[in-house]
């Protein structure tokens, strides 16, 4: 399926998922009168959240800085037949409100869509403001679906799909403008199904969320050296696309997972579970935050520092060939 992604040797367009997903929700809310938007200290004059608020004042609540209450209210609304989209700082949403996500949302099994911003190290605010365990937490909760879209347009497709999706979803997005991965939308997007972002037979990189960009960049650069690397965009961490994982691990024999998350409990762990239980023999490596509270700095610098920027991924693949 060549050609669906950008060629990352060129300049790539940036887009801000945090702004644009709400724009999409505004469209959907015009049709679906039971869509609510919940925010936590997020009304910046002129932003899309304010636009939603002004259009649908009765379907908007800002709870201030109070993630457990945000999730509880979102659940209360959903229990009464609404579809609730609740956005908060990812670093605080999955951790501080875990009990509410577990009991109010997941145990009640209701259509709450939690949007955790500032995924991974993208906040640049240091360890208190990094979201490095949301995959692990959400994966461990029954009934939850965990998705980390790889670019803005994919997130918009996810938001569209989420309107009719049964059960609760946690959606992880980055802080601000991030590169677009897909040059066009001519690919199948289904929650729970990986996107084959690049063909290849020598090795497989499985990336998720903002790590897909660097995974593809690494694969495209390796291609110029004659190394054909497959890239799976594993936007859905749970339920994992086991079929795509097993196919890739069997066909290429080398699997490297890349995630902007602690290497414990996230995408890499999920893939390992699948591969090991199926008895597939392959070389395997997890890249991501190496179970440390990250150093200070911007995400780009930190990805390089911890070896999961495109150079780090390339080096890893070469060492396994």
């Amino acid at each position: 399926m060549p050609g669906i992604t950008y060629n990352f040797f060129d300049l790539v367009d940036l887009a801000n998922t945090r702004e644009l997903w709400v724009k999409k929700l505004i469209e959907l809310a015009a049709v679906h009168k039971n869509i609510f938007l919940l925010a936590s200290d997020a009304q910046v004059p002129g932003n899309t959240i304010c636009e939603f608020r002004d259009l649908y004042p009765n379907r908007f609540v800002d709870v201030g800085i109070a993630e457990p209450n945000l999730v509880g209210i979102a659940a209360g609304l959903a229990l009464d037949g609404n579809i609730t989209y609740a956005q908060a700082f990812g670093p605080f949403l999955s951790t501080r409100a875990t009990d509410q996500i577990h009991t109010d949302v997941a145990y009640n099994d209701i259509p709450v869509r939690l949007i955790g911003t500032h995924g991974g190290l993208t906040s640049g605010g240091g360890p208190t403001h990094n979201a490095i365990l949301d995959f692990a937490i959400i994966r461990g909760i029954p009934n939850m679906t965990m998705v980390a879209p790889s670019d803005t347009n994919q997130c918009l497709r996810l938001i569209e799909a989420s309107v009719t999706y049964p059960g609760p979803i946690y959606i992880r997005i980055p802080r601000g403008a991030e590169p677009l991965v897909y040059a066009n939308q001519d690919y199948d997007f289904t929650i729970g199904k990986a996107v084959l972002a690049k063909e290849g037979s020598d090795a497989t990189i499985i990336g998720t969320g903002s790590a897909v960009f660097n995974s593809l960049k690494a694969a495209q650069e390796l291609e110029t050296e004659g190394i054909k690397v497959r890239v799976l965009d594993m936007h859905t961490i749970k339920p994992l696309d086991n079929e795509a994982v097993l196919k890739a691990s069997r066909e290429t024999g080398i699997v490297v997972t890349v995630e902007d998350h602690n290497i414990l409990g996230g995408l890499g762990s999920a893939v390992a579970d699948t591969v090991l239980e199926a008895g597939v023999q392959c070389k395997f490596k997890r890249l991501g935050v190496p179970d440390v509270f990250a150093a200070f700095g911007e995400a780009k610098e930190l990805y390089a520092y911890y070896g999961y920027d495109s150079n780090g991924i390339k080096k890893q693949i070469k060492s396994m060939l």
């Binding site: 609510f36 009765n58 379907r59 609540v61 709870v63 201030g64 109070a66 457990p68 209450n69 999730v71 509880g72 209210i73 979102a74 659940a75 209360g76 609304l77 959903a78 229990l79 009464d80 037949g81 609404n82 609730t84 009990d99 509410q100 577990h102 009991t103 109010d104 145990y107 009640n108 099994d109």
Partner: protein
């Protein structure tokens, strides 16, 4: 406050006696039940389900119903007794299905198995946020129903309650009524000894709520007067939400359970069952 209709009060008092007896029998039949907090909130629950709450027995999801969130999910067994008495299912069903694999009656209620519960609860301190969400829903629908949330007092230690209390007041959700079953006891002892809540009414008022105090929440007359004094339902007009603090006695009605923290949860033996039933009968108020 208007004087209560004493015929109604007497009818509800009799019902409360009946429900307490059913609860004792249930506990004897099934094993461990949260008795203390169920007995303390008995008058409030009976007054709601036999008089003040709007619902349809045959259609638990009737859109016009009042919503009731049981934040103190561990006392779901009291509501099982009430629902069985109302004919939603038989008592035998609850005994057989209580805390068993495949049973519908958990130690804490699950709305999937029993849709009459608005929410599956159990982890304490969650109900007020859930009820606040439902009150927002009611406002958006301009709904003719109210949201009640029955919360324990000990669980008010949980910080998220105060997030919800602040939020409901900020948005002036006048369609929301919180009822605090103020029985003064945690699992292990007095709230005022281990984590004091007083001055509790002042705290709610300071957060922007109207407070109705029931001096004795085990006196049906006072409970009826408090619930009858609620303003007409109005989901739209911004008004202060209402908190009813119902001062009760944990284990009320069964003498050997009253004020005994250990009876937060437990099992009633055959012998203790007879003693308990006699006790409940002896504590019946006789009105002339």
């Amino acid at each position: 406050m208007q004087a209560a209709d004493m015929k109604l009060v007497a009818r509800l008092e009799d019902k409360a006696v009946e429900i307490r007896k059913k609860l004792l029998i249930m506990c004897n039949q099934v094993g461990v039940v949260h008795m203390g907090g169920s007995l303390s909130m008995c008058e409030v629950a009976v007054a709601l389900y036999y008089k003040f709450l709007k619902y349809d027995l045959k259609n638990p999801k009737w859109e016009q119903r009042d919503r009731l969130v049981l934040s103190k999910g561990h006392t779901g067994c009291l509501l099982y007794c009430i629902f069985a008495d109302l004919g939603m299912f038989s008592f035998e069903e609850t005994y057989e299905g209580y805390n068993t694999i495949g049973g519908r009656f958990g130690m804490h209620p699950n709305r999937k198995y029993l849709p009459v519960f608005e929410a599956s609860t159990g982890s304490l301190g969650h109900g007020l946020s859930l009820a606040t969400g439902m009150a927002f829903s009611g406002r958006a629908k301009k709904a003719p129903w109210r949201v009640f949330c029955i919360t324990g007092d000990g669980e008010l230690d949980e910080g998220s309650n105060w997030e919800a209390i602040m939020c409901a007041a900020h948005y002036k959700l006048g369609n929301l009524v919180a009822i605090v079953d103020r029985n003064q006891l945690f699992t292990c002892g007095p709230t005022e000894k281990y984590m004091s809540l007083e001055p509790l009414a002042d705290k709610w008022r300071a957060f922007g709520w109207n407070v109705i105090n029931i001096a004795d929440g085990n006196d049906m007359k006072q409970v009826v007067e408090a619930l009858a004094s609620l303003p007409p339902v109005d989901a739209v007009t911004p008004r202060k939400p209402i908190c009813i603090i119902s001062n009760t006695i944990k284990g009320k009605g069964v003498d050997y359970m009253e004020l005994v923290a250990g009876w937060h949860a437990g099992h009633v033996s055959d012998e203790k069952l007879q003693e308990g039933l006699v006790s409940v009968e002896n504590n019946r108020k006789v009105r002339r």
